[in-house]
């Protein structure tokens, strides 16, 4: 099985080259590579080739809420978005707090075969924040769990968090924190600021996030452990991350596409699709987050892809479930907010969407250089195309995109997982799902 991508720009740089993929690996890169007999040939003229994207933060809803998403539909969305590896959060039903569930998620992802679905294990049993899970058994299972998070909920008890960080460091696994001091967010549904005040929505202060980020940075310092901050959303978090990194603390952070592009002025419609955790902040926060991603203070982009069914969103704002689709729109939002304004080059996009997230969780076969002998986990991007987002056309079971009807730049032409085509021109071959 071989594939030849002709005349493509690696990382959007230099002269066009041909890239030959044979048996799941990059076999040859050069000016005039001859296609072997039977090779599929893809025209790469004017396109950008990048390592396949890695998403540290998705919710694929299986097991438990398959009406909103399952591993098959979520995998198709991932492949169509240019991803070759995604991490599926533990807040399923049952919770992924033991090896039976984490191994199921891994095996089901491999069975679907569109993207490597890496299970995230819960930090505490049942996400209840009381008792550590069997992290070692999950890490040793077929799913090789590398990251643990109670995402959706914060590990707010400082002693439990300290023990989790210490214990995880012995296993070489990562603790990812959903930073939200729960006593500061009782009933909160929107960023605490002038918009929420006017709209009568209970406010979620920045301090709820920043106080946990500061605490966990200090806990990680003293434990000599690593900590990863999920979906950083405030300018203050950026300052804390900068401080912690300057101290030499092993802290990493992700930012979502929606926090890069949107702010709380969209809440005026009371449309439940704009409810998300942490909430959309102010324009000044979005600007700080973009700069932090450009500077490397924030390490990577993660989608927090969170499908919800229509009936869970078409309701009162405070009743709507928090979360937004993200897998198929992430690249376009990053191009819109970071590449177009000159904050990131295409090589930087490879860093924040592939190399850095792969390094944070230690995936050996993802985020690799575009070189001969490397695994052919690739995404081919048309940087000049644009498309209009329509939730109903996305591969997810749900259509809760906050970018509905927005026209965004850049499309994914081709995604390959170990040389196998998993998305081509907006179609995912395994499922026949279509998308722009």
């Amino acid at each position: 099985m071989s594939l030849l991508i002709e005349g493509v720009l690696l990382y959007g740089e230099g002269e066009p080259v041909d890239v030959l993929v044979v048996d799941g690996q990059i076999a040859e890169i050069g000016a005039d590579v001859t296609a072997p007999e039977g090779a599929e040939v893809v025209d790469g003229a004017g396109k950008v080739l990048l390592p396949g994207f890695v998403d540290l933060h998705t919710h694929l809803r299986e097991p438990g809420r398959e009406y909103a998403e399952d591993i098959e539909s979520g995998s198709a969305a991932a492949a169509l978005g240019g991803y070759t590896a995604v991490f599926a959060m533990a807040n399923t039903d049952p919770v992924a707090d033991g090896v039976v569930v984490t191994d199921h998620v891994w095996h089901r992802g491999q069975q679907v075969g569109l993207v490597d679905v890496h299970p995230v294990g819960a930090v505490t049993v049942g996400l209840k924040g009381k008792q550590l899970t069997e992290m070692g058994l999950m890490a040793a299972g077929a799913g090789k769990v590398r990251m643990f998070s109670d995402d959706g909920l914060c590990v707010d008890d400082p002693l439990i968090m300290r023990r989790a960080l210490e214990y995880a460091s012995g296993l070489g696994v990562l603790i990812a924190q959903h930073a939200e001091e729960p006593r500061l967010t009782v009933g909160a549904v929107a960023h605490e600021g002038s918009n929420a005040a006017r709209l009568g929505l209970t406010g979620w202060p920045r301090s709820a996030e920043e106080s946990i980020v500061a605490r966990d940075a200090i806990l990680a310092r003293d434990a000599g452990a690593r900590v990863h901050i999920c979906h950083a959303s405030t300018a203050g978090t950026v300052e804390l991350l900068r401080w912690a990194k300057e101290q030499g603390i092993s802290i990493t952070a992700e930012v979502t596409p929606h926090h890069l592009l949107l702010d709380d002025t969209v809440l005026e419609s009371y449309d439940g699709r704009n409810r998300v955790t942490p909430p959309l902040r102010e324009a000044s926060d979005a600007i700080a987050l973009r700069q932090a991603l450009a500077d490397g203070v924030i390490d990577c982009v993660a989608t927090d892809h969170a499908p919800h069914a229509d009936h869970e969103k078409a309701c009162e704002f405070a009743v709507a479930r928090p979360g937004m689709l993200g897998l198929q729109t992430a690249l376009s939002v990053v191009v819109e907010t970071m590449v177009r304004p000159g904050l990131l080059s295409w090589r930087d996009v490879a860093r924040v969407m592939s190399e850095a997230p792969a390094a944070i969780v230690g995936l050996p076969d993802q985020g690799r250089p575009l070189e001969v002998g490397e695994p052919a986990n690739l995404v081919l991007v048309d940087p000049d195309a644009s498309w209009t987002v329509t939730g109903a056309d996305l591969a997810s079971r749900s259509d809760n995109t906050p970018f509905e009807s927005m026209t965004l730049p850049a499309t994914v032409i081709l995604t390959t997982l170990r040389g196998k085509v998993t998305a081509r021109d907006g179609r995912s071959p395994a499922t026949g799902e279509t998308a722009p």
Binding site: E192, G193, S194, N195, A196, A197, R198, L199, G200, L201, T202, G203, P205, S269, Y270, H311, A314, C315, E316, F317, A318, V319
Partner: protein, 317 residues
């Protein structure tokens, strides 16, 4: 104004004034009538949807509709399919299909009225008029209209008057609608509350903020006391009901600092003794019962404007 009344911000100065004028006309038209019935809305169906307890708002909308000969149907969250778990959208579409010309909604979620208006709009833009009768901690525009009417009746006008709003601004839809409407009508608004009962972001509102009620009373033309809910009293937002009463209650002694012409308002239900002394609530300065009467007339005027239309302000008696 569109065909809905969702926020006091929907009203221009002229529109608000026209509603207040019509409310006065309805009041006059009904004076001394043995049979309080105008044919204005005959054949129209007005459905009230109350998802929270209410006495005066629900009753005044119902009375307003009936005095104008509308068919008024009341739906409450208990005793309807809401209790069986029906979504607000489905309930709204059901009531539209049942022939509602106007939907009056009181709901605990901010934004519920606005969403209802969107869900019930037909593709061609028609559909029932929606009136927000209080949505969560967002707005209660007809309360602001009746407060403005009361102030206008007592003081001659709203413009240039200094209105002091006292109490739980953070959770108050009455405060939000009053800030909007009173500013539109040219009043000067002062909010008096402890910092814990003021929203973050209040600095962007067209008001001045104070924590000292005694200092604000002598210059006030009107004082609007807000309700404090029992669950917020002990330790959450302020230390105790006793301390609240001492610092922010309108006692007889404190009320004596008011100018003679100043009017005292309260949207009700009042917590006598804590928010307001009984002697103050029942004094001639108090307009509490006038507010209730005005509530009926204002709601008649609002239904009239939404269902019959402004510019036809001839009250059909």
């Amino acid at each position: 104004m569109t065909r809905h009344l969702l926020s006091a911000a929907d009203l221009s100065r002229d529109e608000a004034t026209a509603i207040l004028d019509d409310a006065d006309r309805f009041s006059t038209a009904l004076v001394g009538r043995e049979v309080k019935k105008l044919p204005t809305l005959r054949g129209r169906t007005v459905i009230t949807m109350f998802y929270e307890n209410s006495t005066r708002t629900r009753v005044s909308f119902e009375v307003a509709g009936k005095w104008m000969s509308a068919d008024v149907v009341n739906v409450s969250s208990s005793g309807s399919s809401v209790a069986k778990g029906e979504s607000l959208r489905d309930t709204a579409l059901t009531l539209r299909a049942a022939g509602a010309d106007a939907l009056i909604i009181r709901h605990p979620a901010s934004g519920a009225a606005q969403r209802l208006a969107e869900w019930t709009a037909e593709p061609n833009g028609s559909g029932p008029s929606v009136v927000n009768a209080g949505d969560g901690t967002h707005e209660h525009p007809t309360q602001a209209l009746l407060d403005a009417l009361t102030i206008r009746q007592r003081l001659g006008s709203v413009e240039g008057k200094r209105v002091v709003i006292v109490g739980d601004v953070l959770h108050s839809r009455v405060a939000r609608s009053n800030v909007q409407l009173l500013s539109t009508l040219g009043a000067e608004v002062v909010l008096v509350a402890p910092p814990t009962l003021l929203p973050t972001g209040v600095a962007t509102w067209p008001v001045t903020v104070s924590h000292d009620l005694d200092a604000e009373l002598p210059g006030a033309d009107a004082v609007l006391m807000l309700r404090v809910q029992a669950e917020r009293m002990n330790g959450g937002f302020f230390p105790s009901a006793r301390e609240y009463s001492v610092l922010y209650g309108l006692s007889e002694k404190r009320a004596s600092k008011l100018a003679d012409h100043a009017v005292v308002l309260h949207p009700g239900p009042m917590l006598r003794g804590m928010e307001i002394a009984s002697s103050v609530a029942d004094s001639t300065q108090s307009a509490v019962l006038q507010q209730v009467s005005n509530g009926v007339h204002v709601r008649m005027a609002v239904l009239f404007h939404l269902l019959v239309g402004a510019g036809t302000a001839e009250v059909n008696a």
